[in-house]
Amino acid sequence: MSTIHVSVTVNGERREADVEPRLLLVHLLRDTFGLTGTHIGCDSSNCGACTVHVDGMSAKSCTMLAVQVDGREVRTIEGMADGAALHPLQQAFWDQHGLQCGFCTPGMIMQAAWLLEQNAAPSEGEIREGIAGNLCRCTGYVNIVKAIQQAADTLRAVDAPAEPATAG
């Protein structure tokens, strides 16, 4: 069995592996690197549970080969929180009850993060279109939309020029 050496920066950390060319990115992340927050739901690139960022672009990792990301940067749900501090999207999904079984949640958060990087103030319609590639079976999307709206507000407040003398 011929393998290919890949070197990938995952959540800021350089990871290496010898892989079969056919190894899917999602299996590289889950089985080789032990990052099991990225899930597999449909195998046909419909559900988005496997969404990660590759070089800053959201991607469905079940429809990408590990060898395709050699030398690239991958970000997964495990790379979203800063230590104990949750990413605003993680906080918002919790606050707004944007998840139930939690299975689609990592992919949903990763897609929402990419969406908010493209569009800091999306309308409800733009949010719904923006997560059209992510299926959720539990929530009916209502609270997911609310969570993304909350996170957008939070992120805009963070990005806004800091008021002077507001320490803390």
Binding site: E20, R22, L23, H27, R30, D31, L35, T36, G37, T38, H39, I40, G41, C42, D43, S44, N46, C47, A49, T76, I77, E78, M80, A81, L86, Q90, Q91, F93, W94, D95, H97, L99, Q100, C101, G102, F103, C104, T105, P106, I109, E124, I127, R128, E129, I131, A132, G133, N134, L135, C136, R137, C138, T139, G140, Y141, V142, N143, I144, V145
Partner: protein
């Protein structure tokens, strides 16, 4: 959001009933730290993958595994012949029928398991599957249950013996046939309709899977799996395998959605166990999506003929329903044993029927086992769809507004508890208030005016109502069991000395938030803050026996057990407090998490102080510790209800239906966590919307599943899913300890007929009486075209 004032008696910090406590389980999920079955890997673990039949019905002439076994890393190929030697080729279904683990001679549905490949790696196992050659001789296929019942139809299950030499499984009836017939004969108006509710699939985003781990030294089997009913699985495994039940541990982890699809015992689980027994190593099996859609249990597939009689003023008098239930090749439904058609006889719905009769016949076909679940396993969805469609047809037939007709026929609030003609006793309800509230929220009268204007312009707009009654909380032991096991549920609470609590429950969360809501019940009853209460479930070594979570039974049954167990603890706490306060127990009163002496509120002991005393200073003659167990046997079922109103616009060019607005007013009795209840309703509505317009598992005449991927099995995305508008009324259950009723399935049950009624409402003036779900663009266009209104 909830617009009624939900009563609370605790502070937000304590977080008892009625508080929207943020979920305790979420921190792990939002960080990707949930542990779903495929996230778990054990040392030395092997992989199993399954060879499946392309044919829906065929003889197996031979299985050639030689090429597969040549692949480095393929360790074994298990066939039906191998299992037969150990007597493991058959297993019982939860309905007491027989299901193959692997076939020895004949496959009965497309994608049926034929052999299992065990390998060192999931990729190699897949290669092994592709390399196994199976020689089949195709046999004629029956996909239509009506054809299966025809005289002379080939008998699909000859194993049932000569006395059952047909494809009829069972007949079940409820109500008074003669009375219903007589009332129908006398009715001024009779409406009849054939309504088909097709096969659908729960398609939770996580598929099914397990790791079987056989420890030969200790003779102990651990089955890690994604199951809604771990105790039932353990018992079935013990019965099938002959292993002693205490040497089997079933452990669920986080579950990525259940909706009923993770109740049954699938052959893959048994095969993984066999593979682990054979190899002595842990063996993992994870379904892919197509296997999940093609072979796991299905819901619905009900061919219903309903007839409804009424006076000319629209007072309904009689209902008669005849149904054919397609169960596939085996009856693997998880219905209570006395109810082979589930609780389908709740079909008189929210209406005061003097007479009703319902009968159902179960039938075998060449399809995978059906009749289980889609966020309602007990056939309530089918019943609600039929009655809500029929009531709407009657309203249109006699020219009465469907809302008005419902109001005039509802069981009235003062009639509760209400006995239905098919034998149920509804615990409580207030149907007119819920419907009126939905009408006000959506602006019903304005919408009817808008519809009239649009119709005059040739535009097709419809308004649909569904005023459903759910039936959940199975169930009372005098009538409810599965494989003989009574349908109680359980809770065991232990209070630690420092006032922290561990509670274990017999039910299982698949996203419902049990870690939060069950803690809230305990917080309500005992005053411990939710943060101090840990809820455990899903481990048969530690959790008390329970039947699991499905059919919205967690809150009605295990929730009641939790409240009762907490009250047992409170009773003991009263004695401890009396000892500490040197008072008579009867002189103490309970409030805000403490016992105080009546009239002397300063003389009190908090529940935390009492807990400490239970281990450090308990009175002579009293057992130390503070714990209690309750196995709750509900006196009756609970009957949540609601009224939904839906507005649709139909594209006359394409036949596409757009749901413009959807208002859902639900009443699930007392509410534990309003945020979670709303989330459940949003999800339930979406799982009602989906089969109304999109989802269907269809078969071609060869028995091929034509919706075997998410490319063709159309789960709705956020784009087409409506922005749900929810409202509440609260009518507590009089017999439930905390007055709750359960809500998980209500919306899935109530939503489809609201949408179907709206679409038919838009088209009734053209002579359209019924459209079966899913109302796909092609189906609606066909009707528009026939009626001459297609653009």
């Amino acid at each position: 959001m909830t617009d009624v004032q939900v009563r609370t008696t605790t502070t937000l910090e304590v977080g008892g009933m009625g508080h929207s406590v943020k979920r305790k389980e979420d921190p792990r999920f939002i960080r990707g730290k949930g542990e779903y079955i495929d996230d778990l890997n054990l040392p030395g673990q092997l992989w199993m993958d399954i060879v499946r039949s392309p044919y829906a019905h065929a003889k197996i002439l031979g299985i050639d595994a030689s090429e597969a076994l040549k692949i480095p890393g393929v360790l074994a190929v298990v066939t039906g012949a191998d299992l037969e030697k150990a007597g493991l080729h058959w297993m019982p279904t939860l309905a007491g029928d027989k299901q193959m683990v692997l076939p020895t001679h004949t496959v009965m549905y497309q994608a049926q398991e034929v052999a299992a490949v065990v390998a060192t790696d999931r990729y190699i196992a897949a290669d092994g599957v592709a390399a196994v050659l199976v020689d089949y001789e195709p046999l004629p296929v029956i996909v239509d249950p009506k054809k299966a019942l025809e005289p002379g139809a080939q008998v699909l299950r000859p194993d049932r013996g000569p006395e059952k030499a047909n494809n009829h499984i069972w007949h079940w009836e409820s109500g008074d046939r003669a009375a219903a017939d007589a009332a129908l004969a006398k009715a001024d108006v009779r409406v009849a309709e054939d309504i088909y509710i097709p096969r659908i699939h729960v398609a939770s985003i996580e598929t099914c899977g397990c790791i079987a781990d056989w420890d030969a030294v200790n003779g102990h089997l651990t089955l890690h799996m994604t199951s809604q009913a771990p105790h039932a699985i353990r018992t079935v495994l013990a019965l099938v395998s002959g292993l002693p039940e205490h040497k089997i541990r079933v452990k669920t982890h986080d579950i990525g959605g259940g909706f009923g699809g993770k109740v049954p015992v699938y052959p893959g689980y048994v095969l993984a166990v066999v593979a682990s027994l054979t190899t002595g190593k842990p063996v993992k099996w994870i379904e892919d999506r197509s296997e999940n859609l093609q072979a796991d249990s299905f819901a619905r597939d009900y061919h219903i003929h309903a007839e409804l009689g009424a006076t000319k003023e629209g007072r309904i008098t009689s209902l008669k329903v005849k149904t054919i239930a397609d169960h596939g090749y085996t009856d693997a439904a998880a219905d209570p044993s006395k109810f082979p058609a589930g609780l389908f006889n709740v079909i008189t719905g929210s209406y005061d029927f003097p007479d009703a009769f319902v009968e159902v016949d179960g039938v075998y076909t060449n399809k995978p086992p059906g009749g289980v679940a889609y966020r309602c396993s007990f056939r309530v969805t089918e019943a609600v769809h039929a009655i809500e469609r029929m009531v709407d047809i009657l309203a249109h037939e006699i020219g009465k507004d469907p809302a008005q007709l419902r109001m005039e026929n509802f069981i009235q609030p003062e009639q509760f508890p209400y006995k239905t003609p098919t034998g149920w006793e509804y615990d409580s309800g207030n149907y007119p208030v819920a419907l009126r509230k939905a009408m006000d929220m959506i602006g019903y009268e304005d919408l009817r005016r808008e519809q009239a204007e649009k119709r005059a312009r040739g535009e097709l707009m419809g308004i649909g109502i569904s005023s459903f009654t759910e039936i959940v909380g199975a169930g009372p032991s005098h009538t409810f069991d599965i494989l003989g096991i009574k349908m109680f549920d359980s809770c065991e609470i232990r209070v630690h000395p420092t006032g922290k609590v561990m509670a274990r429950i017999g039910v299982q969360t698949q996203g419902q938030g049990h870690e939060t809501t069950f803690a809230q019940i305990i917080a309500e009853e005992l005053g411990f803050p939710v943060a101090d209460i840990a809820i455990e479930y899903g481990d048969t070594d530690t959790a008390p026996y329970g039947l699991g979570t499905y059919a919205s039974r967690s809150t009605p049954v295990a929730g009641a057990a939790t409240a009762i167990a907490a009250r047992k603890i409170r009773d003991k706490a009263r004695l401890l407090a009396a000892h500490l306060l040197e008072a008579n127990p009867d002189d103490l009163e309970w409030g805000s998490g403490a016992f105080s002496v009546k009239g002397s509120p300063d003389k009190k002991k908090t529940i935390q102080e009492i807990a400490f005393a239970a281990y450090t200073n308990h009175p002579q003659g009293m057992e130390a510790g503070l714990e209690a167990v309750d196995y709750y046997d509900p006196p009756n079922l609970t009957f949540p209800f609601g009224s939904y109103i839906c507005v649709v616009d139909i594209d006359r060019g394409t036949g596409q239906v757009k749901v413009r607005r959807f208002v859902a007013v639900d009443d699930c009795g007392n509410i534990i966590n309003p945020m979670i209840v709303d989330g459940q309703i949003h999800g339930g509505l979406t799982m009602g919307f989906a089969p109304a317009l999109y989802e269907e598992i269809a078969y071609d005449e060869l028995g091929n599943n034509l919706n075997g991927t998410f490319m063709d099995y159309l789960l709705p995305t956020a784009v087409e899913t409506p922005a749900w508008e929810t409202g509440k009324t609260i009518t507590p259950s009089p017999h439930h300890p905390i007055g709750a009723k359960g809500v998980g399935e209500s919306a899935t049950v109530g939503a489809p007929p609201a949408i179907a009624n709206a679409v038919v409402d838009a088209l009734w003036h053209l002579g359209v009486r019924n459209i079966d779900i899913p109302m796909t663009p092609q189906k609606v266009w066909r009707i528009l075209n026939e009626k001459g209104v297609a653009l």
